[in-house]
Amino acid sequence: MPEGLRLALVVAGKDIRAELRSKTALLSATVFAALVLVIFNFARDPTALSAGDLAPSALWVTFAFAAMVAMNRAFTVEREHDAIDGLLLAPIPRGALFAGKLLANLAFVAAVEAVALPLFVLFFNVDLSRSLWGIVGTAVLATIGFVAVGTVFGAMAVRTRFAELLLPVLLLPFMVPPLVGAVQVTSRLLADRPLSEMLGWLRILAAYDVVFVTLAALVFSSVVDE
């Protein structure tokens, strides 16, 4: 196994092991996701807006905010006892460190999304029998990009006193393009529209991933090093 990949897996494994033990990020993000879905469900006026019309937006707003809760926690653990210094001190290429943190964040956000999706079906009474794999694929495509950006901003915020506040403020503007794309694709999937109607948005999501994962990997070193 290449050394960089091994080190990335060590870093990701550490984060996942610590999270499985504390469950802080997963529990808080899952409860948060459930609350957002409940609020969307009860705040909707059924005579003015059908559940199907609101469902795509509700799903992605839930995913986005729950992801932020999960990512915030991922870097909070690095701040306690200056644990991040232990990582920075070790002979790890910064690219491997970024990859490790990205993998762990993707695992956290994917876990939250996996729990939130059935809750979404429950609250919005949508039929995913034909669109489930499309929505899963869209979630993968949209999540990779904004989690990469969130990983960089999380590393940047970890050295500040207002990390919990800073991450959402920095990240939200960068989440807009993948969220718009994901909502558009999801609404077409739920309406059982043909793939040709979604291709443009899927290309945008893929391009966002390529551009922002690359950019995030490039700037990570300058963000984490004092």
């Binding site: 050394e3 091994r6 080190l7 060590v10 870093v11 550490k14 092991r17 610590a18 999270e19 033990r21 504390s22 653990v77 306690e80 006892h81 200056d82 644990a83 210094d85 232990g86 990582l87 920075l88 001190l89 070790a90 002979p91 790890i92 290429p93 910064r94 070193s221 090093d225 004092e226």
Partner: protein, 238 residues
């Protein structure tokens, strides 16, 4: 360029500024194998910043740090491999056990048998048998020992210690001095920052005093601490 006279650590012209505040002002630091440089100085002298720069955790505004002939910097991760660092903070994860924390460090340094290396490091600081505890459940002294085990697990050639005796009781402090003396005899290079010279005096090969980001004294340790202290107080209160 690094010196070729057997120095493990060779830092030249180190400057570090935070905005207009110049914390380090052109420091040179050279430590050879088996040498212990004990650095003292008043609060705010730049001691911790110096150690962070030497460890590669903070970039100097100017100057260079070389360890075993490799320049320390973010783009050269292998240059950090021979460095061990104990800071004010333990650098341990509360959600992992002490053993898992030390094993993690061993894995990050690519040791062939991380578990065995962690057990040796824990035994060296007297924490064998407490490896399954979480850092949050340890006393300040035990946490410090765990932090030292983490720093020693990869058998560093250069050890940077920031107030390593903080929180240690007398037997643990004595044990740490013995451990450091053993490692020094085996060729370790040590830079130890302290406010309490009495705890590190016998380990020191050289003593340096940092004030206002500059060396105001650097000389071989000679004689007893009692003879040095009046000069030290005169320097730092000048």
């Amino acid at each position: 360029m690094p010196s070729s006279d057997g120095a493990i650590l060779d830092a030249v012209g180190l400057e570090r500024a935070f905005g207009a505040l110049r914390v380090l002002r052109g420091l040179d630091v050279r430590v050879r194998a088996g040498e212990a440089l004990v650095v003292a100085g008043p609060n705010g002298a730049g001691k911790t910043t110096l150690l962070r720069v030497l460890a590669g955790l903070a970039r100097p505004s100017s100057g260079e740090v070389w360890v075993l002939g490799a320049r320390v910097g973010p783009s050269n991760p292998d240059a950090r491999r021979p460095i061990g660092f104990v800071s004010h903070q333990s650098m341990l994860y509360d959600d992992l056990t002490v053993r898992e924390n030390v094993v993690l460090a061993a894995r990050l340094y690519g040791l062939p048998d991380p578990g065995a290396a962690a057990e040796r490091a824990l035994a060296a600081v007297g924490l064998d048998g407490r490896g399954d505890e979480r850092p949050r459940h340890l006393s300040r002294g035990l946490l410090q020992r765990a932090s030292i085990a983490r720093a020693l697990v990869h058998a560093p050639r250069l050890l940077l210690l920031d107030e390593p005796f903080t929180g240690l009781d007398a037997p643990a402090g004595e044990r740490l001095r013995e451990l450091l003396a053993e490692r020094l005899a085996a060729g370790l290079a040590l830079v130890l920052v302290t406010h309490h010279l009495d705890e590190a005096w016998q380990l020191a090969s050289r003593v340096a005093v940092l004030a206002g980001g500059r060396w105001v004294l650097e000389e071989p340790r000679v004689g007893e601490l009692a003879g040095f202290l009046p000069r030290y107080h005169a320097l730092v209160h000048a």
